[in-house]
């Protein structure tokens, strides 16, 4: 792999629409066509009603910082060159039980090691940005 970063298989049947969405600058969540239950991560069947029918609903891309870590070596080489860096979990504004893992960046195209971890606070509001790595657009987060 050229970049050395671990990346998703963006052609997987169950998850491809999510990654197609990020490539268009949209944060999508699966919503059941039958009962409207929203689920993350994506999967074929609705755990609330067992429907196989779903739509992909755009989200506002706003959320709050639910938790975070600061990773230090030993790490895979591509990641180690950025360490220490943060990894965050975001609770989405539409439903605080919908969460995504990402990174807090200082600029839309900024690296994952630019925000001073000492300034990070659980509960602070964030908004999504999309950063391209190879052919994947990863959702990352900036302070609002």
């Amino acid at each position: 792999m050229a970049s050395g970063f671990l990346l998703p298989d963006i052609e997987d049947d169950d998850t491809a629409p999510f990654w197609q969405g990020t490539a268009r600058g949209q944060l999508l969540v699966q919503a059941c066509s039958a009962c409207r239950h929203r689920r993350m991560p994506p999967r074929p069947m609705c755990p609330a009603c067992r429907s196989l029918q779903h739509t992909w609903m755009p989200l506002s891309g706003r959320g709050t910082l639910w938790s975070y870590v600061v990773a230090h070596p030993p790490l895979l080489p591509a990641y180690q060159s950025l360490a220490p860096y943060n990894v965050i979990t975001v609770a989405l504004d539409e439903d605080s039980q919908l969460r995504l893992v990402g990174n807090l960046v200082a600029r839309a195209d900024g690296p994952i090691n630019e925000v001073d971890p000492a300034t990070m606070r659980i509960g602070e509001p964030v908004r999504v940005v999309f950063q391209q790595v190879e052919d994947v657009f990863l959702p990352r987060w900036m302070r609002v």
Partner: protein, 385 residues
């Protein structure tokens, strides 16, 4: 008719290789050595063994173990998944197989060479990620320690836990290892200052919040309670057993369910105690899965030794320490200071506590709780003497 397995089987043999780094023997060889020792400890012949249960992550296969150790015709074999969650599960499945007559002498084991760099399961960079890991690893949440650190930070935020609480855990287990000549950290003392000054691995977790990386193998032999009476070791009964995959659980990165801090131990504990004559208040010694120190407060809560959110404070005042703590825990040193063999060493220490042969023996304990991985589909045993 009582259809549960309560007290119907017993662990009658234990065996373990030495623990170390860079041990030359293969995992298969280590497995065969430990199994052979366990069979000898039970005073049985290899040909008597007719049941095998192993971790699905085990590299050696049942057929190879059977051909090496010279086992008899195997009539029951099975595997338990999810890595560190499997340990008590292998023993429980063996007990169920013996209790239901699918085999008479069952062996459960774990062999692992974890010290080799290539053995790090998160280090495979050669393919695109499918399944659950695609939602976390691209962002640099690479290792098990990162995945648990995310839950730890949230736990600290919600319940006021601090690094001092995690140090309580690490120091208690190190003290126990300092009394156990077989422990990796037998000769290495640790102070609270050592803990606080250790390098970060994944904040808020430091080096000493992590388990060891160990080569070694351990095995147990399980037979019916009736047969156990005629064998040479004091029987250690499998009193209660449970497993759990809680609702909407995701392995390790369990961030996507309603309440991620309600870990697998809660669901496991409900069945475990329902099947048991003992309750948490009766239990005076425990072996709790400790790949990472924060799993201890989470497990103390999940298994009902304290209220939710009180697990960190439970560790104060030496509560986990032998001999005077409320609940001496990981009395051989656990995964953090004895050896990390996917938690199977905790099963053997549970057996020693019930035999009365631990190097930190809790006098008068009638039962011992043993748990497997918190944060993954898990399992637990309540052993009794």
């Amino acid at each position: 008719m009582d259809t549960t397995i309560k007290d119907r089987t017993a662990i009658v043999g234990i065996g373990q290789t030495r623990f170390g780094k860079g041990i030359e023997a293969s995992e298969l060889s280590l497995a065969c050595q430990a199994i052979s020792m366990a069979i000898d400890d039970a005073g049985l012949a290899p040909s008597a063994v007719d049941g095998l249960v192993m971790y699905s992550m085990e590299n050696g296969r049942e057929v190879e173990v059977a051909r090496n150790v010279g086992l008899g015709d195997i009539t029951y074999f099975g595997e338990i998944g999810y890595g560190g969650g499997a340990g008590c599960g292998t023993v429980g499945h063996a007990a169920m197989a013996v209790a239901t007559g699918q085999c008479d002498v069952a062996v459960a084991w774990r062999a692992r060479k974890r010290s080799a760099k290539g053995s790090r399961p998160w280090a495979n960079v050669n393919q695109r990620l499918g399944g659950a890991t695609q939602w976390s690893r691209p962002f640099g949440l690479l290792r098990p320690v990162d995945e648990i650190a995310m839950l730890t930070r949230r736990y600290m935020h919600e319940f006021g836990a601090t690094r001092d609480h995690l140090a309580n855990v690490a120091l208690a287990f190190r003290m126990h290892a300092n009394r156990n000549p077989n422990a990796t950290m037998y000769e290495k003392k640790m102070t609270r200052e050592d803990y606080m000054q250790a390098r970060w691995i994944s904040e808020p977790l430091c080096l000493f919040d992590n388990c060891l990386e160990t080569d070694g193998a351990l095995a147990v032999v399980i037979v019916s309670a009736e047969r156990a009476k005629d064998l040479k070791q004091q029987p250690v009964y499998v009193h209660s057993f449970a497993q759990s995959i809680p609702q909407q659980h995701q392995v390790m990165t369990n961030y996507f369910c309603a309440d991620p801090l309600l870990g697998p131990s809660y669901a496991c504990a409900r069945l475990l105690w329902r099947r048991s004559d003992f309750q948490p208040k009766d239990v005076r010694v425990a072996q709790l899965y400790d790949a990472f120190s924060p799993l201890i407060p989470l497990s103390l809560e999940g298994y009902g030794f304290c209220e939710r959110g009180a697990g960190a404070a439970f560790t104060n005042d030496g509560a986990l320490e032998w001999p005077n703590g409320r609940l001496p825990t990981n009395t051989a040193g656990g995964g953090m200071s004895e050896a990390y063999v996917h938690g199977f060493n905790l099963v053997l220490e549970g057996v020693r506590q019930m035999r009365g042969t631990s190097t930190s023996q809790v006098e008068g304990a009638e039962s011992c709780l043993v748990t497997s991985g918190e944060g993954v589909p898990t399992s637990a045993l309540l052993l009794r003497r």
